[in-house]
């Protein structure tokens, strides 16, 4: 077997193995790209909420078109259809009757649920007071509501229960169903059975809603009805769509553009195919490495591939163009060391990202590192064997004179470039406080338009946003509920002081067994209660003999079993409990969402007193918005550190190899100037910087060092031969195409890298030429 055949066979086997791995890889486009790999306790809550929290399972639906009566008809139709489907655990549109099951449950179990049920309440004095209170309430305008309940519930336990719920802002109602504030849309709130992180299931659920809506509308005969759906599930699905379409579109654009460049250079299908070999190998190796290391490959990581194509194709360009007349062996001796150093600086830059706690960033690092390394190795070891010495590249020497002329022009521009950079630096220093985007939303794929729709629907329907919560972890369900009850008593004190408006707790509908037992034990036996009631009501307008139903109800409650999770099935309260009480692999956790003080909208909770009150209770108080902002700032700090570390690694590598401070300075200067000019340009173009711009800066140095190194090598030899010059220009063009296409992306992560590295790579070449030594012809 010839060397070429052996090399090809090895490559082919590696490719097949890689393809097999990719075939079995799991690709994902969900939020976990942004979620911390090693979360703190508070961040863990954030992660859990984003993956399986109820809020991420809410879909808000608005029905538009027709008149109010028609919209209400469609709303009822849709409600009736969706309610029957297993994909949805709750469908609410405000129509009467939908809350009957909940009310029945609360009333039936009121003596085990009411926080007022204590032994004192059923003493003679306690009964007298609570019943007198109920009678007072009859005098109130709200009295009409409680009058029918009075004979069965004279102590007012149902009122105690309902007043604790303090439901937030209720949506408007028009024609018997929820409507938007302006009355122009009918509203529904739907909760999917699927987790928010299950994008496939969310996509199906959304499609089901749309299909059922179309049928509801046609059945109701409303031809111009439209549906608007929003919510985290919609965002997840749309993001995935965006990433998918962007990735395929951008890869296609950059691949076609690069192939066009290569065809122009090579004018040979065989060379073109061979030239793409390292790229394809690199892209495959990148996905394989990420898949093996992380188990899941993010769509955005794959999207980054189009940029990598631009860089990895450089190596084969160098090889074919530079080795033209020299032959493979001579090329290895003269050029490979420089290229190797360029590859190593790229690898050094990318490998810094591996240490990121931001999984998306770590994946990009690993992907690029393995891709570039593989492309270089394939170029060095496989390509020469396959191509042999028979690769007549079209004579590109005619490109050299204009390029050299260009270099001379650049060299004459040294002072203007330095002045321009100083101006750019001044702008950056002056505007340093407005440079950065303040939060994680900078990286989100959600469009401003979708975000505005979401805000509008959210306001119309009063959907919960769960910004503040207290979190408790316990060994088992009972312990978790008991802890929730203890924390609840402390939160009650905060409600009384008006520091918080209220809170939700799973213990409200599923009290701990201990609490239920103690409440039941507060209920006196039938005869005893009858005797006390007679004494208590002696002078009351409500005579004891009219309260026979009350005695029956208490006797029934004493005989009834405890409430368990199963008792709640069939009510929407089951959902509340499930969303607030969750089983973890080795523990249970309770969420107590806190509401800001009522009446004043948009007011934040005063955090300090809440923290102080909960201190020592084992409950952790979390402000989700604060945690999100902190998460982003952590990422940003970390990315800064990693970029600096990557930069230090590159500098160290160059210092060791070049062994000359002057040469090191000459290589680094154009790269640093390129970074400053690009960042100032991006800023002046009105973009706010976020952490991916920062990574872009590192990549400018890592990628741009290739060109600076060639000029350095040329400086050492005091001449820059035409093939080298041509290969640099072409390689730079393909790199600029690869990264530049990313700048077209709507995915912020990809766009930021593209807009920095695309122009940065070109500038790095131009500035390297600008500061290179004068050549002899």
């Amino acid at each position: 077997m010839s060397a070429a055949a052996r090399a090809f066979l090895i490559w082919l086997l590696a490719m097949l193995a890689g393809a097999a791995v990719v075939w079995n890889s799991h690709f994902s486009a969900d939020m976990s790209f942004f979620l911390p790999a090693r979360p703190s306790a508070a961040q863990q809550v954030l992660v859990d909420q984003l993956k399986e929290g109820v809020v991420t399972r809410l879909l808000m639906v608005a029905i538009e078109g027709g008149d109010a009566v028609q919209r209400a008809t469609v709303s009822r139709q849709l409600h009736g259809r969706l309610e029957k489907l297993p994909e949805f655990v709750a469908v609410e549109n405000g129509q009467a009757g939908s809350l009957d099951a909940d009310r029945d449950f609360l009333f039936r179990h009121r003596y085990l649920l009411s926080p007022a049920v204590k032994p004192e309440r059923f003493t003679v004095a306690g009964l007298r007071e609570s019943i007198a209170n109920s009678i007072d309430l009859l005098a109130s305008p709200a009295g009409m509501l409680i009058k029918p309940l009075l004979p069965r519930d004279p102590t007012g336990e149902m009122i105690e229960l309902l007043s604790g719920l303090g439901a937030g802002a209720q949506p408007n109602v028009s024609e018997g169903v929820w409507a938007s504030r302006d009355g122009e849309r009918a509203m529904l709130l739907i909760q999917s059975a699927a987790l928010g992180s299950d994008t496939d299931a969310q996509e199906q659920a959304i499609a089901t809603i749309r299909r059922q809506f179309a049928e509801s509308a046609s059945e109701a005969g409303v031809s111009d009805a439209r549906i608007v759906i929003s919510g985290p599930g919609v965002f997840a699905v749309k993001s995935r769509e965006t990433i998918k379409s962007e990735v395929s579109k951008l890869s296609a654009i950059s691949t076609l553009a690069i192939i066009a460049v290569l065809l122009f250079v090579y004018r040979s299908a065989r060379l073109l195919t061979l030239g793409l070999l390292p790229v394809v190998s690199g892209a495959l190796a990148g996905i394989v490495a990420v898949s093996l290391a992380y188990g899941t490959v993010f769509g955005i990581t794959v999207g980054f591939g189009s940029a990598l194509i631009g860089e990895a194709v450089d190596y084969s360009i160098y090889y074919f163009v530079q080795s033209g007349r020299l032959g493979a062996a001579e090329w290895r001796a003269r050029f490979w060391p420089t290229i190797r150093l360029g590859v190593l600086t790229s690898v050094g830059g990318f490998s810094a990202l591996l240490f990121s706690g931001f999984p998306g960033l770590a994946q990009l690092g690993l992907y690029s590192l393995s891709g570039v390394l593989t492309a270089a190795l394939v170029t060095r070891f496989i390509l020469p064997a396959l191509a042999g010495n028979d690769h007549p590249v079209r004579d590109l020497s005619h490109l050299a004179p204009p390029l050299k002329q260009g270099i001379r022009i650049m060299q004459s521009l040294r002072w203007p470039v330095i002045l321009l950079t100083i101006a750019a630096l001044t702008v950056l220093v002056i505007d340093r406080h407005q440079l950065w985007h303040p939060n994680l939303s900078a990286l989100s794929t959600v469009s401003a338009e979708d975000s505005a729709t979401d805000m509008a629907l959210r306001a119309d329907i009063g959907a919960p946003d769960s910004r503040y919560m207290a979190v408790i972890t316990a060994a088992d369900r009972e312990a978790a509920l008991q802890a929730a009850e203890r924390a609840g008593r402390q939160l009650d004190a905060l409600v009384a002081k008006g520091i918080i408006g209220g809170y939700d707790s799973p213990a409200r509908f599923l009290p701990s067994q201990a609490m239920q037992d103690s409440r039941r034990a507060s209920l006196p036996a039938g005869d005893e209660l009858a005797a006390r009631l007679k004494l208590a009501q002696a002078d009351s307008p409500l005579a004891a003999n009219k309260l026979g139903a009350f005695l029956d109800e208490v006797a029934k409650a004493r005989a009834q079993g405890n409430i368990t999770r199963e008792t709640l099935t069939g009510t929407s309260l089951a959902l509340v409990v499930d969303s607030l009480l969750m089983q973890r692999p080795d523990s249970w956790s309770v969420l107590l969402p806190l509401r800001p003080p009522a009446g004043v909208e948009g007011v934040d909770i005063d955090i300090e007193p809440v923290r102080a009150t909960l201190a020592g209770s084992g409950a952790l108080f979390i402000d989700m918005k604060f945690e999100f902002d902190r998460l982003y700032n952590d990422y940003l700090d970390e990315a800064t550190l990693l970029s600096l570390a990557g930069f230090a690694a590159i500098v160290a590598l160059l210092a060791v190899t070049l062994r000359s401070a002057r040469r090191l300075g000459a290589v680094l200067l154009p790269l640093l100037l390129a970074v400053i000019l690009v960042i100032a340009g991006v800023h002046l173009a009105g973009e706010q910087l976020h952490l991916m711009h920062l990574i872009g800066m590192l990549l400018i140095v890592a990628v741009g060092s290739n060109y600076a190194l060639f000029f350095d090598r040329a400086g050492k030899e005091h001449r820059l031969d035409p093939p080298t010059l041509a290969s640099m220009a072409i390689a730079n063009l393909t790199t600029a195409i690869g990264f530049g296409t990313l700048a077209l992306s709507n995915v912020p992560v990809l766009h930021a890298v593209g807009i920095t590295v695309g122009p940065g790579a070109v500038l790095a070449l131009l500035l390297a030429a600008c500061f290179s030594e004068h050549q002899r012809d």
């Binding site: 009058k147 209720q170 408007n172 028009s174 009384a496 307008p541």
Partner: protein, 189 residues
């Protein structure tokens, strides 16, 4: 002859209210002139379950055309404020706010008192048939719900007063319970 006389009397009886200068339109004009004021109120609720009526009292103030505040002092302090279509109730630490536009039955109920106070005949006739008796100095306006949903709650609302002042409102509920609200104007200034 007797028959004819009876016929005449009958016609006369029919013609009398029309010939009297006082009618619903006149009452509404009188009421609409009242731009607001304060009153002490006493409300008695007669509930079949209770041996004695439940009595509450306090102050009311009205500002034309759509702001009504009812401040109960006995037996428990409670404030009810109706401002346009927003009804807020404050009782001890509880505060409840309801947008009546969402609750047609409650709105009809509220309109009975608001429409009377402001002399808004159209608002009243939307939900009730109006019957007026008495004269301008001592009139009684009876509201009979025309909508079944409302008549399931309240059978009859009887408002009485003199000139542009409402003196009492009586609600007769569908279950036979009733409440009487008496108002005594307080001279302001």
């Amino acid at each position: 002859m007797i028959k004819r006389l009876l016929g005449c009397l009958f016609l006369l009886a029919l013609a009398l209210p029309a010939s009297a200068a006082f009618d619903v339109g006149q009452l509404m004009t009188d009421l609409a002139r009242n731009k607001g004021g304060k009153a002490k109120f006493t409300e008695k609720k007669y509930i079949s379950l209770l041996d004695k009526p439940v009595v509450s009292s306090g102050e009311m103030s009205y500002t034309a055309p759509d702001r009504l505040e009812k401040r109960t002092l006995q037996p428990k302090v409670e404030t009810l404020l109706l401002d346009k279509d927003i009804l807020s109730i404050e009782r001890e630490k509880q505060k409840l706010s309801i947008n009546l536009a969402n609750q047609p039955e409650a709105l009809a109920f509220v309109d009975s008192i608001r429409g009377t106070l402001s002399g808004n005949r159209a608002a009243l006739e939307k939900n009730y048939a109006l019957h007026l008796s008495g004269n301008a100095d001592k009139w009684v306006l009876t509201l009979l719900p025309s909508d079944q949903k409302i008549s399931a709650l309240v059978l009859r609302i009887t408002v009485s007063g003199s000139r542009g002042l409402v003196r009492s409102i009586e609600y007769l509920q569908a279950d036979g319970d009733r409440s009487v609200l008496n108002m005594e104007p307080v001279e302001t200034k």
